[in-house]
């Protein structure tokens, strides 16, 4: 799973950080506001197309295992805990912990939809992690709010650092014969408790060191200037106009319940034409963006 930003020569990478934020926000809002699986699919396709045109597809898709795990977990948990739905597939009583379970087709479908929804949200954040330069975001936010900028800097810098620490700790433990992956699931989880404690401690230590280094260079001592500034290009205006329109569009159709999708008692697609139009809009816009991205690259 790649979690670090990758510098690349693409149209997305040269956009103003505000434009990048608007693209990600617009796509993120689709599954966030809608339980409709078409909305999740639309978000998934849109972000995948943009990731492809930005040259980070391999890094982005490296999250698929984690998303598949979330998807399966969502289906399984929902199958056990929800007995709603009219199409009963399985009834069983006397199961430890759960007692009586009723597995319905609607329940399974709801679980799959929620899994897809969570996965699409995760994948939008995954795209953000690998394609948006944290330095640019920190630079954008820092003059306005010291605390939020500090938090952003720490979080975005810490995640890859903690991943590296985690890898080093696992190697060091293996090198002295401690196998954290031995035993059953519970034992493996227990094995990892000291590791997690260590990572949490390292995370805090790194945070303190970074805060100390920032304070030593007068961070938070007064008003700041901005030496590195970003200029909006014509491409930025186009991207902001289209994706902001998409953002308004999705908020409007969601508020007017034009994207409804009922799972219980039986599956009923009550999505209106405007809802479908919204989903298709994002996919089309992403395709157009990737075409412009290819043209931009060829023109260089």
């Amino acid at each position: 799973m790649k979690i670090a930003y990758k510098k690349n020569d693409s149209l997305f990478h040269i956009l103003h950080p505000v434009s990048q934020m608007i693209i990600c926000a617009a796509i993120l809002v689709l599954p966030l506001l809608n339980s409709n699986p078409f909305a999740s699919l639309s978000a998934l396709l849109s972000v995948g197309i943009i990731a492809g045109s930005s040259g980070v597809f391999a890094d982005w898709i490296s999250w698929w295992r984690f998303c598949l795990f979330i998807f399966v977990l969502s289906v399984v948990i929902n199958a056990f805990v929800s007995s709603n739905g009219s199409t009963v597939l399985l009834k069983y009583s006397g199961l430890p912990v759960f007692g009586r379970i009723v597995v319905t087709a609607e329940g399974l479908f709801f679980g799959a939809s929620m899994g897809l929804r969570i996965s699409s949200i995760i994948l939008v954040f995954a795209f953000w992690a690998v394609a948006v330069d944290p330095d640019r975001i920190l630079n954008l936010l820092s003059p306005g709010s010291s605390e939020s900028a500090l938090l952003t800097a720490m979080t975005m810098r810490m995640v890859p650092a903690v991943a590296k620490d985690s890898r080093e700790i696992l190697e060091a433990q293996a090198a002295r014969g401690i196998d954290l992956d031995s035993g059953g699931y519970i034992k493996r989880m227990n094995n990892r408790v000291p590791l997690l404690r260590k990572l949490a401690r390292d995370f805090l230590d790194r945070g303190i060191s970074l805060a100390e280094a920032m304070e030593s260079r007068a961070y938070g001592s007064g008003p700041r200037s901005r030496l590195v500034s970003y200029v909006f290009s014509p491409a930025d205006f186009g991207v902001i106009a289209v994706f902001a329109a998409g953002l308004v569009f999705v908020i409007a159709v969601s508020a007017m319940k034009l994207t409804s999708f009922d799972f219980y008692p039986s599956i009923r697609v009550s999505t209106q034409a405007q809802g479908y139009a919204c989903f298709v809009f994002f996919i089309l816009v992403s395709v157009v963006f990737s075409v412009f991205s290819a043209l931009w690259k060829n023109s260089r």
Partner: protein
């Protein structure tokens, strides 16, 4: 005429919150404009705390109890904030990773200027000047993550220098760097001091590279100043702490009974050139290495040639035509052939990125060879599981922190024993023996966070050694450590050797290599460029050799260790 000090410390006492013992006691110091002050002292002597007291982090960031006064340009650091003091004092920290905020070097350098609200037109000019002054242009388009430790530390220095401080304080800035990067960093620092007149306060405990740079040396011990004077003064002072901090070459001449004490190799050679008889009696001889494995870089299949020469000998570990590539497809190891005999201490040396750590990780099975094989005590490692490998071989990683996942040293060692399946009785015996061997018995129940870096290295070593593996691999065990910790590691190596157990040490510390290794393997760009007996490999090297060898080159051949050098010196004393 008395000069007005830039930094003035008067009767400074400081205790960290929650600590009973003061970290600094009765410190009185003055730093003059343009002065280069070296703060020396063993681990835990208070160097880092003193550095932080100069820029106000102590007490503003840490809290705690403070008395006395620290003034920078007449401004009391107790009254001014860290931000205000940042205009006058720049602080470079020990760990280059932990102090960089941005991934883009240019933004990193701009960060301090933005915090001081410097307007763009002045700020951009300053950034360009710093890029040019520190010769950082080639790093401009790279990401900080991709830079070497030395390059990161230079970016950290640039990001402080750009704020145009009057004094730069550096807290052990080279402790995490390899010798080449450390040398480069210190040369840059000295040129800033001499050409720009910026005062420098440098805290270090590996002094051989910076001793001669300082105008004044202050030695701390237990939070107190136990010596303050010039480098020449300290060399003449019979002070136990000071003596341990002297560069190897100075200690050598002192022990040989010379009154004129050199501070670096150059001065040592000048003294030697004045001794009657040395150049005439000891002709420069090029040793004959035909019987050993010394191999030229140009020789085709060089490391294989050596491996063929030693096939007759029994080897605890054999590495055959080993190749390894990481994800990027570029091989980090290119057909390495080597063997490691029973009871041998073998040092692996070479510049950063030469494949040293990759080689030893392949030997322990942490990494899988792309091609070739590793034979561990007669078995191909590819056919062994993790448990079987761990029973034979243990490795202490470069960063000891990654070993320490328990609360106390005792728990750390017990964790290894538990994993190995030892009984409670055997565990107790092994833990006690290991803590005692490494001389850390007193730390048995001390929380790991409260013990020093050097002691943590020893605990990390203990967490591996408690299993008593037949093959022990130490990756940079002496990096950033003072001589007392090195001595304990050295005695461990000697003990293992006497038991017929093999030890591989990956290191840049060539004085350590010379004293304690039997053989040396030198790597460059994933290939072995030389391997053989320690003496032959090191005496034939220009850079990868000891200070003694550099000093005596041309005066006496075959001088590699301190004992060799002492013998020659005493002969002519």
């Amino acid at each position: 005429m008395e000069k007005f000090p830039l930094v003035e410390i008067e009767d400074l006492n400081y205790t960290y919150p929650g600590c009973g013992e003061p970290a600094l006691r009765d410190i009185c110091l003055k730093v003059l404009p343009g002065e280069f002050m070296l703060i020396a002292g063993l681990t835990g002597s208070g160097k880092s705390t003193l550095c932080r007291a100069v820029n106000g982090l102590v007490p503003h960031f840490y809290g705690g109890k403070i008395s006395g006064n620290v003034r920078v340009k007449g401004i009391s650091t107790l009254e001014a904030s860290v931000g205000e003091l940042a205009r006058y004092v720049g602080l470079v920290f020990q760990d280059p990773e932990a102090q960089l905020v941005f991934e883009d070097p240019e933004r990193e350098i701009a960060f301090g200027l933005e915090n001081l609200a410097i307007e763009p037109i002045r700020g951009i000019k300053r950034i360009e000047e710093v890029f040019s002054c520190l010769r950082l242009a080639s790093l401009r388009d790279r990401r900080v993550t991709d830079l070497s430790g030395g390059e990161k530390q230079k970016i950290a220095l640039a990001s402080v220098l750009v704020m145009q401080p009057e004094v730069i304080v550096l807290d052990e800035p080279t402790s995490q760097l390899d010798p080449v990067s450390a040398e480069d960093f210190l040369v840059t620092l000295k040129s800033l001091n001499s050409e720009l007149g910026i005062s420098v306060i440098l805290a270090e405990h590996r002094l051989e590279r910076c001793f001669h740079l300082a105008d004044k040396i202050v030695v701390l011990h237990g939070g107190r100043v136990v010596f303050s004077g010039t480098a020449e003064d300290i060399a003449k002072t019979d002070h136990a702490v000071g003596m341990r901090l002297l560069p190897p070459i100075s200690r050598l001449f002192l022990e040989a009974g010379y009154t004129e004490i050199p501070l670096n190799v150059k001065e040592g050679r000048m003294i030697l050139s004045g001794i009657d008889g040395i150049p005439n009696r000891h002709k420069l001889e090029r040793p004959d290495y035909s019987h050993t494995g010394m191999i030229g870089k140009q020789e085709k299949n060089s490391s294989k040639a050596f491996a063929e020469k030693i096939t007759e000998r029994d080897a605890a570990v054999k590495v055959e035509n080993l190749w390894h590539s990481y994800g990027d497809g570029n091989p980090s190891l290119k057909g390495v052939d080597a063997d490691f005999g029973f009871g041998e201490v073998v040092a692996i040396v070479g510049e950063n990125g030469s494949g040293k750590t990759t080689l030893v990780k392949n030997i322990t099975g942490i990494l899988k060879p792309s091609k070739g094989r590793v034979i561990l005590y007669g078995r191909d490692i590819a056919e062994m599981n993790r448990r079987e490998i761990a029973a034979l071989c243990g490795m202490v990683m470069q960063n000891p922190e990654s070993h320490l996942i328990s609360k106390t040293p005792e728990e750390e060692l017990r964790l290894t024993c538990k994993s190995a399946g030892f009984s409670e009785k055997e565990t107790e015996e092994r833990v006690s023996k290991t803590l005692s061997t490494l001389d850390i018995e007193s730390l048995r129940s001390t929380p790991v966070e409260e013990i020093s870096c050097g002691q943590r290295e020893l605990v990390a070593i203990g967490s591996v050694v408690v299993r008593d593996p037949d093959l022990l691999i130490l990756d940079e065990p002496t990096r950033g450590l003072d001589s007392s910790v090195k001595e304990r590691i050295a005695s461990l190596l000697a003990r293992r050797k006497s038991q017929g157990k093999t030890t591989i040490v990956v290191t840049h510390d060539l004085e350590f290599v010379a004293e304690f290794s039997d053989r040396v393997i030198m790597l460059a760009e994933g290939r072995i460029i030389a391997q053989g007996e320690m003496r032959e490999v090191l005496s034939d090297s220009l850079f990868y050799t000891t200070q003694y060898n550099r000093c005596f080159r041309g005066f006496a051949s075959g001088v590699v260790t301190k004992a060799d050098a002492l013998k020659v010196l005493k002969e002519f004393a």
